[in-house]
Amino acid sequence: MTTLDLAAMLQRHGGDATRLVQILHEVTAALGYVPPATITELAARLGVSRAHVEGVVGFYSFFSAEPQGRFRVRFSDNITDQMAGSHALCQRMLDAFRLELGEVSRDGLVSIARTSCTGLCDQGPALLVNDRAIARLTPQRIGAICSLIRGEVPLAQWPENLFAIHSHVERRDRILAAVMQPGEGLAAAVARGAAATIAELERSGLRGRGGAGYPTGAKWAACAATPGPERYVVCNADEGEPGTFKDRELLAHHAELVIEGMTVAAFAVGAQRGLIYLRAEYPFLVAPLLELLERRRAAGLLGRAVGGVAGFAFDIELHVGAGAYVCGEESALIESLEGKRGIPRNRPPYPVTHGYRQRPTVVNNVETLAAAALVARDGADAVRGQGTPKSAGTKLLSVAGDVARPGIYEYPFGVTVRQVLDDAGAVGSQAVQVGGPSGTLLAAREFGRRIAFEDVPSAGAFMVFDQGRDMVAVVENFARFFAHESCGFCTPCRVGTTLAAQMMTRIATGVGSRRDVKDLARVAGVMKAASHCGLGATAGAPVVAALEKFRPAFDQRLRSLDVVPTFDLDLALAPAREATARDDLAAHLDEEGP
């Protein structure tokens, strides 16, 4: 493996400890992992404690202090990948290398693991190998990948078509059909003035597209009204909610609009710096985004006197996340931008007053920024004219699962679930998970409901399950997702998500009891009431919804006993039987007891 000149690398980062996540990406790219000696050296050179560096390495899935394979394969484990056969394909690769899941081959060549949804649900199953993504996996593609790994062919020399990411836009509306000349939105904002731009945004009724639906104008106004030596605009492109891939499409083919939105925001709130927090699962977007930023600098749309406005200096840098879902929460995202573990902050204070580096910061979703750019150019009425009274404008939906035409669908708010299903060619659907695991699970009788903040809000995911799907397995996938992604900071979530996952697995594998069902509901209640942030608060939601809407699917799986042991008692004596070479009657435990 290549060597690493740590001193030179840190110099490029200005020896700045807040760039630690980016620094660790470079270490991982060069060495495949972050060796303990490197952790020690990084801590010394950055002037932070060793525990801090080790804590950050340990926090993010994409960093490791243990040696990994030179080829690090991670299969996307969203339920849609699973439905498309990802587990069998993963097993195929494991068999090819005679490895167990999560194991590193003895020669250090390859390690194979699973990771949370990689945002390629419209073209799954998908995997990541080092910092490249591969979609549309088939047994043939897996075979090809195995040969390339075995031949130790450097990733740069793998056939380019392997890495092709397709774009499936099935329905365009205001945002996806927009044609904007670079600087057009900014020019309109400048002509209107900063305060009037915020007022226009407030009048448009634009609400955050990341799921929570906070009024964007109010957010900008609060940031602009907070005195401070500097302000920041952050684009939240940490699209981690399983089943969501609309920001991927926006940043791949409409990034100009998003950057325009960031620039308008910077002008309106008086920010000097912008940051894009891009999830690590989208490495294919890094180079195009950096090129776009360069083009805008060359065109005078970033840098000093942006858009020819004297005194308006603004530039944007790209940060890449490291595989932590919780960093989609804005305060955790800011912690991560500051080079720390992505643990959500106490709120209030909110980022608009105490954000990045404790300065006033606007954090907006990718789609929100694109929509804001259009408000700046076209005015509030154009947006107000679409959608519902409380949900102005359009919404991008990432439709995946059991549909004929998965992809991106942009609708005015208020579209019914049934309409989306019909347009996507869904047949015999029994359920739709709107907004991802933390969103809303809808049964067929609810398909008349509407996608809007006043009915079913959505961060963009729209996963469809037909009648052949096992809803218990679906919910188990979600429960395991939350257990994996809990940041571990607060007990209700750290313990609750793991308990819920264990109980769901017991039920799904047919060894659960009625007590598990009862406890699931209780654990979900505690998580909702007592968790530190939204992750824990919503982690129980799919379980509660599924118990309400698909209860028979659970009950059919239960063993009839009221309480059954959570582990195989006789098997638990096997190691001691082996060590003592005993096999008498007392060396066994029957399952049912006396």
Partner: protein, 190 residues
């Protein structure tokens, strides 16, 4: 049934039969029970002990209440727990080990085979060792488990050990028919 028989009257005073057991624990929870001091006399007005290390009666008969300290570390623990569950109307897990595995569960990341081999064959000072294999000896489980992993537990009394005050309040509540609630200040881990 006659009108008279349905009339709510005073609860008939019958002593509750109580069994206790110490599984994989340190006996600290039992000691804490004894720490209720002179209230033991009051307690014995309300209960009579069945199987318990305090009576040295080994086999549990039908009981109203079972108190168990310690987690499950071997096959015998499982048998004892099941016998208690079969005989007790109300079963209470007492203390950290019963609730979570506690201190004994610190062995859970060690393979029990390695553990036995080190202790009886390869460890320092061991000569001509052998791993005891008498059928009278209960085999250790691969991991230490909390009680509720194997049977239904009705109440959990947390603490390491639960204080005498907590045990006293818990028992008096339970005996009087009130749902026991361990209030703030009574849960302690010393």
């Amino acid at each position: 049934m006659s009108e008279r028989a349905r009339e709510p009257a005073t609860v008939p005073r019958r002593k509750l039969r109580v069994a206790t057991a110490s599984l994989a624990g340190c006996f600290g929870c039992h000691m804490s029970l004894l720490d209720i001091d002179e209230r033991l006399v009051d307690l014995l007005e309300l209960i009579e002990l069945d199987a318990s290390p305090l009576t040295d009666k080994k086999r549990c008969g039908p009981c109203d209440l079972g108190l168990i300290e310690g987690g499950l570390c071997n096959a015998e623990n499982v048998h004892t727990l099941r016998a208690m569950r079969a005989n007790c109307k109300i079963l209470v897990a007492v203390g950290a080990c019963a609730l979570n595995g506690g201190l004994p569960a610190q062995r859970n990341h060690i393979d029990v085979r390695d553990c036995l081999q080190t202790a009886y064959l390869s460890g320092p000072g061991v000569e001509r060792g052998f791993i005891p294999n008498d059928p009278e000896l209960p085999l250790p489980l691969a991991q230490v488990h909390p009680l509720h992993d194997v049977v239904k537990i009705d109440y959990f009394l947390a603490g390491c050990p639960p204080s005498a005050e907590a045990i006293w309040q818990f028992l008096t509540d339970l005996i009087a028919g009130r749902t026991p609630v361990t209030t703030h200040g009574l849960i302690r881990y010393d």
